[in-house]
Structures are given as C-alpha cells and as structure tokens.
C-alpha cells in the first residue's frame, strides 16, 4: 500500500516534471510557497519603509531582537540585553553566529548596521528612511567583539520594542560590494539564504544549513525545517486564493473576508487569523463646528453599530475598540467605557447640542473602505445623521487630513493607523498628541500631551503603562474619534502546512514551518 502510493506519487512527479517542467522538483525534498500580495522593494534592510519588504527580508535576515508568538520581545542574535542607565542599553551578542557568506558576525557588524540606519547619507549618499524608527538613538559603541552599547540622546523605553524592526547586515559584504549591491543581494544571518530574486515574480530562498538556530526563547532551535521557501508574488486577491485552492501555494496573506467561505469549503486549505495591529477609527474634525461640541462627538459614537458592521462586512473578524490601543499592546486599558449603539441617545445628544433635526456630514475614505464607510453612513441615518461618503485617492487623502488648513472644511475621515511595535508610543503620540503627524482629528488635550511626554522618558515600565492607561481614558472621554475596531489579519493556509501560525506583527516567519 505504502509502496504503491509512493510509487504512484513518484510517477506523478515524473509525469508532471516531464509535462510542465518544474512544478514538482526532484532532488528538493520540501518546498514551501507563500502567495504574497506584494513584491519586496529592495533587499537592503536599511533602505525601505515597507511592511511586505520586511516580511520577506525577515526570513533571510535576523535582528538583535525579535518577537515570539505572543508578541513578547526576546533576544535573537543578541544573547541578552540590559538597560545600563536611562540612556544606555547593552547587548551581548551570541557566539558563533555567521553570515550566509561564512563571515563571523561581531559587534562591529552591529555598529555598522545601526550607523547605516541612523547617520545622514550613510547609504551611499542616501539617508535611511528607517531612521525615524530608532527615535533618539545617538550611536552604538563597540565594547568588545561580543558587546555593544546603544547610546540614546534621551531616555527611550521602547528601544527593545523597536529593535525587532531592524535586521543585521555584514560590514564586510557592504564594504566589498558597495551599498547598492545590498539592494538586490543579501549577506545576512537568517534561517534562509537568497537563491534568486525574480523581480515582480518571486523571491526564492533555501535553508542555510549553518544557521545558528534562531532565538533560544522560540523553540525549536536549529536550521529551518523546509529546504526551500518561495515568496510568489500574486497581487490579485482572487488569483491568490485560486493559487491556494489549486495547491500552488501553501500560505496566502491578506485573505479577503469575502473568500473565507470558499477557503473553508475546500478540503485542501483552511483559514487562520490573528489580531492585527491596525486600529480603525473615524477621525472627527474637532476644529469645525458642530464637531467642536463634545455632545456631537459622543452622539456620533453612539450612532455607529460597530458589532453589526463587524459581523456583516468584516465577517466577524475584528475586535471592537473603545479606544486606540490593541488588546495585545503594552499598556492597553481594558476598562474603558463603551459608547454603546443607541440611536435614541444619539438623537437626544444632538438635540441637546442644538441639532434636533439631525446633521448632514461627509465621510472621507479611500476606495478600499467604501463598503465600510457606506455601511456606517446607512447606520448613522437611523440617528438622524445624513452621511455622504466621498472616495479619495490615498496619496491625496492622508496629506489633506494631516494639515489643519487643508482639512478645515472636512467632517469625518475613515482612517487607520498601524502599530507594529504594539506600544502606545508608536500610535498615541503620532495620532493623538498635539500636532502629531497622524493627528487628523486635530485633537489637543494638555493633560494627554503631558502624560504622553512623561511616558516617553519613563523608565519604570509599570509606571509608563499606567500613564498610557490614563491617557487612553482621557481620549475615550473626549471622543476625538468614533472608535471602531481592530481587524484580524486573515491567512489562507494549506492543510499540509505544519508548525506555522500567523503573527500579530504580520511577519510570516517560516523557520519552524514544514510541509507534509
């Protein structure tokens, strides 16, 4: 029976190889394919600001620190780390780590990597677009071959939370080949090494047999399970799902909610999901009348039935929020009061504010969120609010809402903000502090600003979390937004895949994954 089956399989392999060349590859024991929505922009870990690029790179390039499945920050190439004083952190580097070229990884490479990230014009004349992810990092000092110290120009408690975003590169490689070479080649210390990057088509990687094993806190430690990994670029949702159902790929990212039933009905694949890191909200233009009135902003909150929209449009795959933070994030305030859906209360609040006949307003959003915005508008109608939806191009919409003078005539903005660091410093400061880059509501509360500033430099983590909770409470009470939800990231996954689960930071780490 077993013999028969394996013989038959062999026959199929031979036949299919003869027929269409290279679908099943003899000699390669196991291959895992990811149907991925976007190609990487570069292979230089310092020269992009793109989540998809990072997801691909992270399978070839390890960092000092990483995150485990529960999003806890753990050492990766670092062996251990400690805070020496509020402005100094020390990292001990593991012994015996080598880049794919065989060069040993030392403290010099760590310093080199972070110099490229933080020094002006360090990338062959260009400045790294990732510099802003490293806050007040002033420099890295080599203490000995296996020890580095990070010097900060101000205390910065979230340094460890921000370090998983940076991958280490080989100084030797860059000095020999130039910065430009890193755009298309890699010499990192990750579980897989690059075989070929077919631009726009696929990134092909193979297991590095000499891999040091990865984070000791994330077992199993050792070389990757599969021989080869391919990120196959399939931008169209329907085609990506089709590739999964046809068995061409084993994981697809950004599974549309509309495809959940189709995937679940297949005997080949299943749906997996995880809380994402992107908070959705309706930004209310607080500088414009009547939205400067807290009663109106509260009425808007009571006028949206979040649960209904989550059920009907997001296929139930989102968590309703009463504030800005994800429940998985540091300092999440779990006890925020809810603005329950209550059209009668919304009407009353509007009447109290001098609008007994309701309101007329416009919701701005991009084409991708048109159905959501239209559903919100329809539900608001029950509270006497006539909402129109206006669709914009993203490149136009976000700069318009970022500038107070440009948004002065706008009403509501269906927006979102990602928080890959899962830390309030990375989302509350830009979106809710006075003058923040993403503060589209124009929200300004001196108390909140003070708390955010103090938390920024607070070293005691419990104290810091407490400050953020207070700030979240204040924001909830001020209602600068209509609080909405945190969608789950959806993946379609082949049933032959083992040892993989989606991760809240939207990385697709394939070190532990295997296929039957």
């Amino acid at each position: 029976m077993t013999v028969n089956r394996s013989r038959r399989r062999l026959a199929i392999v031979i036949a299919s190889t003869a027929m269409i060349g290279s679908f099943a590859v003899p000699g390669i024991a196991s291959e895992l394919r990811v149907g991925f929505s976007q190609d990487g922009q570069t292979l230089d870990p310092a020269n992009h600001r793109n989540r998809e690029t990072e997801t691909i790179l992270r399978n070839m390039c390890d960092g000092l620190l990483t995150r485990d499945a529960s999003m806890k920050v753990v050492p990766e190439i670092a062996e251990s780390y400690r805070q020496v004083d509020p402005q100094t952190w020390e990292f001990k580097i593991r012994d015996g780590v080598r880049f794919h070229s065989g060069t040993p990884l030392t403290a010099t490479d760590v310093k080199f990597t972070f110099d490229r990230l933080t020094k002006e014009s360090a990338l062959g004349g260009q400045t790294s677009p990732r510099k802003s992810l490293l806050g007040p990092l002033a420099g890295v000092d080599v203490v000995d071959a296996r020890t580095v110290r990070f010097r900060l120009s101000a205390p910065w408690a979230i340094l460890p939370a921000m370090l998983p975003f940076q991958e280490l590169v080989s100084k030797d490689f860059v000095e020999k080949n130039g910065d430009a070479a890193l755009a298309t080649k890699e010499d990192c210390a990750g579980p897989f090494k690059l075989v070929e990057w077919r631009r726009g088509d696929a990134v092909i990687m193979e297991r590095d047999p000499n891999y040091y094993g990865g984070a000791t806190d994330i077992p199993p430690v050792g070389p990757a399970k599969v021989d080869r990994v391919i990120f196959k670029i399939i931008p169209e949702n329907a085609s990506r799902v089709a590739a999964l159902l046809a068995g061409e790929v084993d994981i697809v990212n950004e599974l549309p909610a509309s495809a959940i039933k189709q995937v679940e009905a297949s005997d080949r694949a299943k749906v997996m999901s995880v809380n994402g890191t992107r908070t959705f909200f309706l930004s209310i233009n607080g500088a414009k009348k009547p939205f400067d009135d807290i009663r109106v902003r509260k009425a808007l909150n009571h006028a949206v039935d979040r649960k209904l929209i989550i059920d009907k449009i997001l296929a139930g795959r989102a968590t309703p929020l009463n504030g800005v933070m994800s429940p998985d994030a540091f300092g999440f305030a779990a006890d925020l009061p809810e603005y329950a859906y209550d059209p009668a209360l919304a009407k009353k609040l509007l009447a109290d504010a001098g609008h007994p006949n309701g309101l007329e307003l416009t919701i701005d959003t991009t084409a991708a969120f048109k159905p959501t915005a239209e559903a919100i508008a329809a539900i608001m109608a029950r509270s006497g609010i006539k909402a129109n939806v206006q669709i914009w191009e993203g490149a136009v919409l976000s700069p318009m809402w970022a500038a107070a003078d440009k948004r002065k005539d706008r009403d509501l903005y269906l927006a979102s903000w990602g928080n890959g660091a899962l830390d309030p410093a990375d989302i509350m400061v830009p979106t809710l502090k006075t003058g923040g880059r993403g503060n589209s509501a124009g929200y300004s509360n001196a108390e909140v600003d003070k708390l955010l500033d103090a938390a920024e430099t607070e070293v005691d983590q419990a104290e810091r979390a407490d400050m953020y909770r207070k700030a979240q409470k204040q924001v909830n009470a001020d209602a600068p937004w209509v609080f909405l939800w945190l969608p789950q990231d959806l993946y379609g996954v082949s049933k032959r895949l083992k040892g993989w689960q989606p991760s809240a930071d939207s990385r697709i780490n394939l070190h532990d994954a295997s296929v039957d």
């Binding site: 190889t17 269409i20 060349g21 290279s22 679908f23 590859v25 390669i28 394919r33 149907g35 190609d39 922009q41 570069t42 020269n47 992009h48 793109n50 002006e120 990338l123 260009q126 400045t127 677009p129 510099k131 802003s132 430009a180 755009a183 298309t184 075989v195 631009r199 726009g200 088509d201 696929a202 080869r228 391919i230 196959k232 670029i233 399939i234 169209e236 329907a238 085609s239 089709a242 590739a243 159902l245 046809a246 068995g247 061409e248 191009e393 993203g394 490149a395 136009v396 976000s398 700069p399 318009m400 903000w417 990602g418 928080n419 990375d426 400061v429 830009p430 923040g436 880059r437 993403g438």
Partner: protein, 335 residues
C-alpha cells in the same frame, strides 16, 4: 526607402520626447500627494527626518530646477533613482520590460492567428453561419472585461482542471540564465525543452486574455476591409482571368485588405507594450504595467517619467514599423 527619410523619422522623435517630458512633468507637479508622506506611512518622524528624505528625493528643489536637472540627466542616460526601490529607474524598468514584451508578442501572434483567417472567411462567406458566429464572437471579445475573463480562465484551467499554472512566468526549479530576457527563447537557447513547455504553459492564459479582445477588433477590421477589396475592379478582373478563388483571395485581395489590419495591430501592440496592469495583476505577471501603476499611486515620479518616455518612444517606433509594413504589402505606398 531612403536613408535620409529614416534619419528624418528618427530626428522627429526628439521634439516628441521633449514635448512628452514637459507634459508629464507638468502633470506630476500639479498632482497632489507627497511620496515622502507615502513612504513614511504610519510612523513618527521628525520634521528633520522628513526633510532629509525630501532632500534625497530632490523634492526640496523648485519644480523648474527639478525639470532642468531631469532633462540634463536624461540626455546623459540617467533617469534618476526610483523613490521606493532606491535603485536606478532604468534598472527597475529593464528588469520588467522583457516580461511585458514577451507577453505582447505572444498575444499579438495569437490574436493574428485567430483574427485573420476568421475575418477572411467571414468576409468571403458573408452572412453565412460562420460569419454570424464570428461577428457575435468578436462582439463578446470586445465587451468582456479582461479581468473577469482572466479569473474565469484561472478558475477553470488552473483550479478546476489543474492543467495550467495560475501565476508567474516559469516554475521555480532552477535559475534560467537570461540571454534575451524572453523565457520562451532563453529556455530553448539553454537546450531545456521541458522548461520551454513550462514557460509556454505559464504564458498561455495571460496571453489568451490579452489576445481575445485584440483578435475581436482585428477580425472585424479584416472582415470589413476584405469585403471592400472583394468588390474592387482588380479582384473582378482576376476572377475574370479565370484564377482560382483561393488564389484571388490569397494573393490579390488579402494583401491589400491587410493594410488597415496592420495599422490597428500596431496601435494595439503599442498599448500592450505599455503593460497591461489588469492582466499582469491577475496572473502575477512581472511586467511593467503593474510597476507603473503602482508608481503613479505612490507618486514615484522618476519611474513615472521614465516609463512615459518609454511609451512615447515605443509608439513612435511602432508607427514607423507599420509604415514599413505598408510598403511590403503594397508597393505603391512610398515612405
């Protein structure tokens, strides 16, 4: 055709390209949206950090200065760095161009192979059942959205039957040494027939998706011009001479009837060479269509500029090729 005429045509390119550059540059300057904001996405960034990126991208200079720098560099073959790939635009385009050209050529051949015989038969047997089927078929071919047709092909041949690969240009078993960049050619040069078949299997569905609407148009053009030619005096004369019907149609009528077909085919090819964003997206085809559309959405100005110039050159050259073909088809035409 004289050499001086050829030179004249080529020199004519210069004002065209200059004009196109100015228009594209103006349109880009007038379009709202800031690539730095797009690149930084959701993040904290200090004004200094934003300023450093703007400087890297040359956006801290005036529009006039940017345009002059662009022109000066372009004349020297330097089209700048793609904002997001952070590599020379020329490299980024060159990597993706062969995929688009290969797909265009295969689609063109498929379309001609379908359209010309059908068009001729439909004209010769006007109002017969075959004419009606061809006419209805061409109407469908023109009206069906490519996106929908592509997905339909994927679901049927890719998922249901499992015969054809859904996306990409070739399987991933081995690196294909690039000589021409056209996989159908490179695999043959490398002496790997199995890989050739693999590449052919990959290109079939996207090429068919592009070829059908083109075939529909070409079929109608061929049919109507054939109908016209069949009524011409010299065709009647040829028939009166006692030539066989096949010889009259094949030698005398078809050659003349194909002139409008060539013109339309050249124009269609031009638009296909710009890359078809929809088909490239549906089939994960790594051509320039998707690249350029993404560049527009990301306000990746250098890439947009260079690709529009490329389109302009392509159109001018294709028109030139069509003119040359007229001469071959009809000796009375002079360039």
């Amino acid at each position: 055709m004289s050499l001086s005429r050829l030179l004249e045509r080529l020199l004519g390119l210069i004002p065209v390209l200059l004009g196109v550059s100015v228009i594209v540059f103006l349109m880009i300057s007038l379009t709202p949206g800031d690539p730095v904001e797009i690149m930084l996405g959701d993040s904290r960034a200090t004004p200094e950090q934003i300023a450093a990126l703007r400087h890297d991208m040359g956006l801290d200079r005036s529009a006039m200065e940017r345009f002059l720098v662009f022109l000066w560099n372009a004349v020297h073959g330097d089209f700048g760095l793609s904002f997001f790939h952070r590599r020379p635009v020329i490299d980024v385009l060159a990597e993706r161009l062969p995929a688009t050209i290969e797909l265009t050529l295969v689609s063109l051949v498929l379309a001609l192979v379908i359209a010309i015989p059908l068009g001729v038969v439909a004209a010769v047997r006007k109002n017969s059942w075959i004419d009606r089927i061809a006419t209805v078929g061409s109407l469908l071919g023109v009206s069906l959205p490519g996106f929908w047709f592509g997905i339909l092909l994927i679901l049927f041949f890719g998922v249901h039957l499992g015969w054809l690969p859904i996306s990409g240009r070739i399987g991933y078993s081995s690196e294909v040494h690039s000589v021409t960049g056209f996989l159908l050619v490179d695999t043959l040069i490398a002496g790997r027939p199995a890989s050739f078949l693999d590449a052919a299997a990959h290109i079939l569905m996207p090429a068919l998706t592009l070829a059908l609407p083109m075939a529909a148009i070409l079929m109608r053009v061929t049919r109507s011009s054939m109908l016209e030619v069949l009524r011409a005096d010299y065709v009647l004369f040829a028939e009166a001479k006692g030539l066989t019907r096949a010889r009259v149609i094949g030698r005398h009528a078809l050659k003349n009837a194909l002139i409008p077909t060539v013109t339309v085919a050249a124009l269609e090819t031009g638009s296909l060479l710009g890359g078809n964003m929809i088909v490239e997206t549906v089939f994960g085809w790594p051509g320039i269509g998707r690249l350029v559309v993404e560049a527009i959405f990301n306000r990746n100005f250098p890439l947009v500029q260079a690709s529009v110039l490329l389109y302009a050159v392509t159109y001018v050259l294709l028109n030139f090729v069509a003119d040359l073909l007229y001469v071959l088809l009809n000796p009375r035409v002079r360039l």
